[in-house]
């Protein structure tokens, strides 16, 4: 693939555009509600009407408002159809051909849910056909790679990422450029790039959205990273629970290989890079980078102590760069538009945008991408429409089992790494679960503890048995069998597990308990039984 060829594909693709394009969401949320059949029916209706030259039906990635799915929209300027039935296909085509509005539920594109979004990562999501590389190329895909390979030295690419201020989107917020620099400077003939697509936080589906909607963006981001740090082999570690993402990634890799965008001498440069998929097998702990590497090596997904960090000693002992899906998805836009453009978005310490998955007791569930610094309230109340059925938002859970519950009166907090961790939660990968007044916070804490208990790898003692005991204590509290002494024991254990566990899973396992204790302590105390021995000597002897 040469520069000219890349532009030829782009122009051919644009030239082939028809007067009208119907975009039909084919991401997991809508397909689970029947959008696959809808797409087929749309295609059938087009050919039935003999309008093949007029109308293109395009299966696209996530159109974001999952709760109103299946979604479809006709370009240019057509309404956003919601809650479509496969049988609605005909009406849509007829409406396009006749110019008269169809009697279908439509959404308001000016609603804050859409209007307040800013797309960097999801720019192509819901727009391009994720299963066709041409569609990606037509949207300026692989231009960043072309530019980097021709005009930039590897260290300039690293510098660009450093200047952009991008921080890891997987949870911790470590500066991405710094990580790249460490790997690029690490000694070793063989280096690896790993994309962590083991999005395991329950309630998070941002990475899934990106993978299903724009797989080539990940490949391009990884290839840029490989060029920057001097790696020639990459792995995408993706969960087995995401079959559609796997399928699209497989297709994308095949297409990129065929187009000479992966493999040997990419774009006729001396640079070689291959990407292999590794399918996870249902272990949350494999989201932890050392466990993930063990799993890629075909072993039990058990973490090991760091240091040494993967940047120095990773896969098979070689320097390895691990970033998550959303981080990689930011790379091509940064290289394409320049670090200054990216650094202009967001806040001083948190640059760019962040994708959130809105779920739980919220009216508009789905995917949003907002600039860093957007207040939680804007996301939850304006965009998300607050709790459904007249309920009130009680708390927002971010960061999955490693995060915490932020109470409603802190919703004015801006979305930033530092501000969220000051509240005892974390940015995490971007899952945002809204709880209303019917949600019991102790129950939520136990839910997460059960999760961590079941997902603990069993290697280190604090996590393996500490989560068992914490879960047991929470159950005792919920069952009304606990006293203040048990609560004290729980708090002490939270502190111990947090500080002594080997990996992030254990270290953050107590967070949901700690944060609910911080903001909703009353809910715990209400469940406690009086302790007859509270002061050492009994106040009244209990009879058994």
């Amino acid at each position: 693939m040469t520069r000219t060829e890349l532009n030829e594909i782009k122009e051919a693709e644009l030239a082939a555009r028809k007067r009208t394009t119907i975009r039909c969401c084919m991401a997991a949320g809508c397909t689970s509600q029947g959008s696959g059949e809808l797409l087929k029916n749309l295609e059938a209706a087009v050919s039935e009407a003999g309008a093949e030259d007029e109308i293109e039906v395009r299966g696209v990635g996530c159109m974001r408002l999952c709760c109103q799915g299946p979604l479809a929209q006709a370009d240019p300027g057509g309404p956003l159809y919601e809650k479509l039935e496969p049988s609605d296909a005909k009406a849509i085509i007829e409406s396009i051909l006749s110019g008269e509005a169809a009697k279908l539920q439509t959404g308001d594109p000016k609603h804050p849910f859409f209007a307040k979004q800013l797309s960097v990562v999801l720019g192509n999501s819901g727009e391009i056909d994720p299963e066709r590389i041409e569609s990606y190329i037509a949207a300026d895909g692989y231009q960043a790679l072309r530019h980097a390979l021709r005009e930039m030295r590897p260290e300039e690419v690293v510098q660009e990422i450093m200047d952009s201020g991008l921080r890891g989107r997987g949870g911790g917020g470590y500066p991405t450029g710094l990580k790249w620099q460490t790997v690029s400077k690490a000694r070793g003939d063989k280096k690896y790039i790993v994309c962590n697509a083991d999005e395991g936080d329950p309630g998070a589906f941002m990475d899934r959205t990106v993978l299903e909607s724009d797989p080539h963006a990940i490949l391009e981001g990884m290839t840029l990273a490989a060029y920057a740090v001097g790696a020639d082999q990459g792995y995408i570690y993706v969960r087995a629970e995401y079959p559609l993402a796997i399928e699209r990634l497989q297709k994308a890799i095949k297409q990129a290989k065929k187009a000479g965008l992966l493999g040997a001498q990419i774009m006729e440069s001396p640079f070689n890079f291959s990407i292999d998929l590794r399918i996870g097998a249902g272990a949350f702990v494999c989201g932890e980078e050392t466990a993930l590497m063990a799993s890629i090596e075909g072993r039990r997904g058990v973490p090991r102590p760091r240091p040494p960090f993967p940047a120095e000693s990773g896969l098979w002992g070689c320097p390895t760069l691990i970033n998550n899906v959303e981080s990689f998805a930011n790379i091509a836009p940064i290289v394409r538009n320049g670090s200054q453009w990216f650094a202009g978005i967001g806040t001083e310490k948190s640059k760019g945008t962040k994708v959130f998955a809105l779920a739980g007791k919220i009216s508009n569930t789905g995917i949003v991408e907002v600039p860093m610094g957007t207040p939680l309230r804007t996301i939850v109340e304006e965009m998300g429409g607050g709790a459904p059925d007249g309920g009130t938002v009680k708390a927002v859970q971010t960061g999955g089992p490693s995060g915490g519950c932020i109470p409603a009166d802190h919703l004015d907090t801006p979305v930033e790494y530092e501000s969220l961790s000051a509240l005892g939660s974390i940015m995490g990968s971007g899952g945002m679960i809204v709880m209303d007044e019917t949600t019991n916070m102790v129950d939520v804490a136990r839910f997460f503890m059960e999760f961590c208990r079941d997902e603990s790898c069993g290697k280190c003692i604090p996590c393996r048995t500490g989560t068992v005991q914490m879960h047991h204590l929470l159950t005792k509290i919920i069952d009304g069998k606990a006293t203040a002494r048990d609560l004290a024991l729980l708090e002490e254990l939270c502190d111990m597990v947090k500080h002594t566990s080997l990996c992030g899973l254990g270290m953050t396992a107590p967070n949901p308990v700690l944060s609910t204790l911080r903001f909703f302590r009353g809910e715990y105390e209400e469940l406690l039984q009086p302790d007859p021995y509270a002061n050492g000597r009994p106040t009244a002897v209990p009879t058994s």
Binding site: S32, P202, A240, E241, R300, A359, Q397, I433
Partner: protein
């Protein structure tokens, strides 16, 4: 009790013999060859094996360990670490209730309870007639349409206990209770 124990090769011989009459073993061998019989392909190979056989029986694991030149304990250790792998046969149909946070706060546990009551099995088990296996998932990423249940690989959105029971009934061909 024999003081000289059975050499490892004898067990392998038995498995190879068993495998020779089954085409699926051949397919698996080709798959492993494509990975150059590399030890780090173990998880990919187990995925393939489960796809072919439905579950990972002992002979299958020994077959894999032999070809990838890994001790059986390593293969077994890996197969039991990951929840996706199952060492017991699954039922004709599989129903996976997502218990991710979003599904949980929207009542997935009630859907699970309804199915458990109707089928008489708890999560992780298969009905005695081998019709339905009930499983739970940690989050299938369909949070936007919670609560979600996967029926034979197809994700179904916004499930109520009634929806789930209707599906089970379809499978079992009679009232689930």
């Amino acid at each position: 009790m024999p003081l000289i124990h059975q050499p490892r090769s004898r067990k392998i011989d038995h498995v190879i013999e068993h495998a020779s009459g089954d085409k699926r073993f051949k397919i698996l061998e080709v798959f492993m060859k494509r990975h150059q019989f590399r030890a780090d392909a173990l998880i990919e190979v187990l995925h393939k094996a489960q796809e072919l056989f439905g579950y990972l029986e002992d002979d299958l694991l020994i077959f894999v360990s032999h070809h990838l030149k890994l001790p059986p304990s390593r293969v077994y250790g890996v197969a039991t670490f990951y929840h996706f792998f199952t060492l017991k046969p699954k039922g004709e149909h599989t129903c996976v209730v997502c218990l991710g946070t979003a599904c949980y706060v929207k009542g997935a546990n009630k859907v699970q309870a309804a199915i458990e009551e109707a089928t008489g099995v708890t999560a992780g088990e298969t009905t005695p007639d081998n019709k339905v296996s009930l499983l739970t998932a940690r989050c299938i990423g369909a949070c936007g349409v919670a609560p979600a249940v996967t029926y034979d690989g197809q994700v179904a959105a916004k499930q109520t206990p009634e929806d789930a029971l209707a599906k089970i009934k379809q499978w079992t061909g009679h009232d689930a209770d």
